[in-house]
Amino acid sequence: METAKPRTLPLSKRGFNFEMIMWIFTRLTALAMYGFILAGLIGGLIVSAQTGANLADILRWAFLPNLNENPLGAYIWITILVKLMVIAFVLIVSGHGVHGVLEILDDYFAGVVARRWFRNGIIAYALVVNAIAIYVIWAS
């Protein structure tokens, strides 16, 4: 049976432009998010082994880290590490999401002026949201 030939181009023939960089960025940020989720779950499992916590606590510590309730929050280095990890996660989510939304908007709004407004608006949104998130996470 004849198999269909894959419609893919090797990297060397795709060119290295802005679109290519953003394509790689989207994939790498997605992989980074899976990595952070895995790290959060492993961290929760380590805590559970030391404290006998249940699955609900593990998931809550992994995805909604509140160091006041987490017994490992007493260690300064863990507090700083978790805050840095959550900030990195938020920045990656924000970058991935903002780029994705812009890509969708670009598909449905074809005008040059509209696209420029959306681009500027989404960059402003990202700056404001990231600033709020970093402040809240670090000050908590």
Binding site: P6, T8, V101, I104, F109, A110, V129, V136
Partner: protein, 120 residues
């Protein structure tokens, strides 16, 4: 100059792309749902009361989690197929595998949210 495709919603929905096309549409809806969730989550973190109320609403939780979970699992499939292009010829099988992973997780998620909603 901007690209003009002039494809209306009705025409787009009749497009015979089948499962890959519907995955593409659901992925976009899921991305938008997660973007909305992210915005409301940051607002709740910043202390906006109505944002905390929305986050606690079980209908919003089901909406965000349904599309968000699909976006996460479908995104993993896309990333794997992008990084290993030889697998693209098996993309329909990959989509069925994706649904096989999604449905049990989705069922468990619905159970947890409904149980919390009715105070269980």
């Amino acid at each position: 100059m901007g690209l003009k495709r002039n494809v209306g919603l009705a025409v787009a929905l009749r497009y015979k792309g089948k499962t890959p096309f519907w995955s593409y549409i659901l992925h976009r809806i899921g991305g938008s749902a997660l973007f909305t969730f992210f915005t409301i989550y940051i607002m709740a973190l910043a202390g906006v009361d109505f944002a905390s109320g929305i986050l606690g609403n079980w209908l919003f939780q089901i909406f965000s989690l349904s599309f968000g979970l699909f976006h996460i699992i479908n995104g993993l499939r896309i990333t794997i197929l992008d990084l290993f292009p030889n697998l693209i010829r098996r993309q329909r099988e990959a989509i069925w595998l994706e649904w096989a992973v999604f449905l049990p997780l989705y069922g468990f998620m619905l159970f947890v949210v409904f149980r919390s909603a009715v105070g269980g």
